[in-house]
């Protein structure tokens, strides 16, 4: 009997003692945290992708609560909807930003850009790029080892085995920018998604002179300035033998694309358009025909 009693008593004393210690410790080391941070974090997507520039969603939530002016903060994954909701909850002005999407600016598929050597190292663009120019004659374009695929948290980018180039799934892409940072060549850019996803961009980043880049790749920008001349909105600049279309100035008139002799300018998500067949073919003798051109066609 006494054995039973002493056991129970010991346990009780231990229990009470532990409770007291826990209570004291909890009180002493309590850190006050704004409860709104938890609420704001709950509203954010919870992907912890780092697209906002903070290590995770909680980091952004903390900043949103702390800063008075949150116009510089933005969650690319949640987009305007989530930001408005959080801003309303916090009673602050919602930051506005147009939806963006990752764009791969290289058309150097296996067919367009012949391989000149075989890479046999660790399958990583970063390893390859730190070693040499790449397995084609173009030292600027996509290396195709898929570092962007590895870093994408949303399965929004994958390397097409046929072309050897990454392709972005626009539905899934949240424009978090992870792939942009991962690409050692700087091939990927975040661009304005555009109305109905319509965009016009130069699908090349080769800064080599026209003759050199043309030799390396069939669809390289050769900086012929034809697109620049036809653009009515001064959206196209040419620097270092490379044309660039400013998505803020571009009015999607699509005049530039057919001008490009190497088809380096790509237009996506436009309805098929009726265009006149290129001059060269017209010269052969047939009268100008009207044909459908698939906008995705390279």
């Amino acid at each position: 009997m006494s054995l039973l009693l002493s056991t129970i008593l010991t346990l009780c004393v231990l229990g009470v003692l532990s409770a007291v210690i826990l209570y004291v410790v909890a009180r002493k080391f309590k850190v006050y945290e704004d409860p709104r941070i938890d609420e704001a974090e709950a509203m954010l997507p919870g992907a912890n992708c780092g697209g906002c520039g903070f290590p995770g969603c909680r980091g952004l939530a903390g900043a949103l609560v702390k800063e008075d002016d949150i116009s510089a903060l933005f969650c690319p994954v949640g987009g305007a909807g989530v930001m408005t909701a959080v801003a309303v909850y916090l009673g602050k002005a919602a930051p506005e930003r147009e939806p963006q999407v990752a764009v791969v600016r290289c058309g150097g598929s296996c067919g367009n850009r012949p391989r000149t050597n075989t890479f046999d190292g660790a399958s990583s663009c970063a390893v390859m790029s730190s070693l040499y120019a790449g397995d084609t004659a173009c030292s600027h374009g996509c290396l195709g080892k898929g570092d962007c695929v590895v870093v994408c948290n949303f399965d929004a980018i994958f390397v097409n085995p046929e072309t050897g180039l990454p392709e972005v799934d626009e539905e899934r892409c949240t424009a978090c920018g992870a792939c942009v940072k991962a690409c050692p060549k700087g091939v990927i850019e975040l661009r304005r998604k555009g109305p109905k996803g319509r965009r016009v961009f130069v699908s090349c980043i080769s800064k080599d002179k026209g003759a050199i880049s043309r030799k390396a790749c069939n669809v390289s920008c050769i900086a012929c300035t034809k697109c620049q001349k036809v653009c009515a909105f001064e959206a196209i600049t040419i620097e270092n033998s490379l044309a660039y279309i400013d998505s803020n100035k571009c009015k999607l008139c699509r005049k530039c694309a057919p001008e490009c002799p190497t088809r380096a300018i790509r237009e996506v998500n436009f309805p098929p358009r009726l265009v006149r067949v290129a001059e060269s073919e017209a010269k052969v003798g047939t009268k100008a025909e009207v044909v459908d051109v698939e906008p995705e066609n390279k």
């Binding site: 046999d120 660790a122 390893v127 730190s130 040499y132 004659a137 080599d208 050199i212």
Partner: protein, 446 residues
Amino acid sequence: MSKTFKIGGIHPSDSKLSRGAAIEVFGLPQTVTIPVAQHIGAPAVTCVAKGDQVKTGQVIATAAGFVSSNIHSSVSGVVTSVDDVPDAGGMRRKAVTIQVEGDQWAEGIDRSDKLMSSVTLSAKEIVEKITAAGIVGMGGATFPTHVKLSIPPGKKAECLIINGVECEPYLTSDHRVMLERSEELLVGVQILCKALGVEKAYIGIEKNKPDAIAHLKGLVSKYPGVEVVPLKVQYPQGGEKQLIDAVVGRQVPSGALPIEVGAVVQNVGTALAVYEAVQKNKPLIERVVTVTGKSVKTPANYLVRIGTPIEALIERSGGVPDDCEKIVNGGPMMGRALSNPTAPVTKGTSGILLMRTKEARRPAATTCISCAKCVAVCPMGLEPYLIYKLACKTMLAEAEEHRATDCIECGSCSYACPAALPLLDRIRLAKAGVMKIARERAIKQK
């Protein structure tokens, strides 16, 4: 027990096929392409233009800052272009292309074979001459020699160590220099000693070169303070830190330079170049290059003018063999595979290695079995398997904690890995990433 470094190390087959081939003067190519960046540091600034007539030994690009180096024309002729040309890896870099016409040398260069053994110049004058001659570390690192010779304030050099180890398999250029240019080399060592103000110089040579050890040992009695140190054959003994550990038993602290332990290391080829610059006024315009490989017809050591196309060297040795699938600029452990054989020989080109198909392909990688062989062979006492795993996940902060920046990229881990994992490929990436972060942090702190 002969001397060697204390941690790690591997023993690859030395395959020194061109060991017995005497240095052969390659002669003049038709054109040379001389890059302006052949050294670590800022690329030199060109001072010639298209159409200019240049003489052999004339400066064509001047050093841009302290850590940089002068570039000289290695031939006489006409500058045909100053433009970006693809280097050995296909990257376009600025270079001067010269069409060779005759062999006219700039004034003041002594081209005779006469040995000039008396060192009359002061330390300061010697360093000035070395700077002017554009001499860089010729073991492959291409660090400007005059920078190494300028001891930072507060530090003192105690000894000079000459790197005659040539621990890379296949390469024999240093070996041949030690045998054939020994007297000049030893005078060069004395000049370097004077420039540094040190009394003692050690020449570290691995025991797989017994002829070089015996030959130099016979000569050093004439050169006070110079000592030949035979070393046990073990890779990577030619690494600066490993060599200091092997020869004088001091370990350079992590993140510090060799001068921290009072040592300065120079390559054999560099010492020879120093002799020629100081005693003969001859700038660095040629070097000894080994052309070798298991199926190369005539493995050889050539004295080549800088800027000669690598292709031409291979052609002289019998052309690219049918079964060759990889051409390496340098040795098999640390050399760089090249994609463009038309690229020129530069100041750092110690050898051209043509590898056969079966050697060229890497074995297929499997999974890590934690065999710890990489840890056992790492000469820096790192844990390559761990840094590799961290690098795969780009966990750079952790990689820094595990001292990724101490890696000397010797490749011992990848060599030893039974799973054939590309350990060094990833570790190199982690190292570069960590160094970038560290630089950014340093800038922020300022």
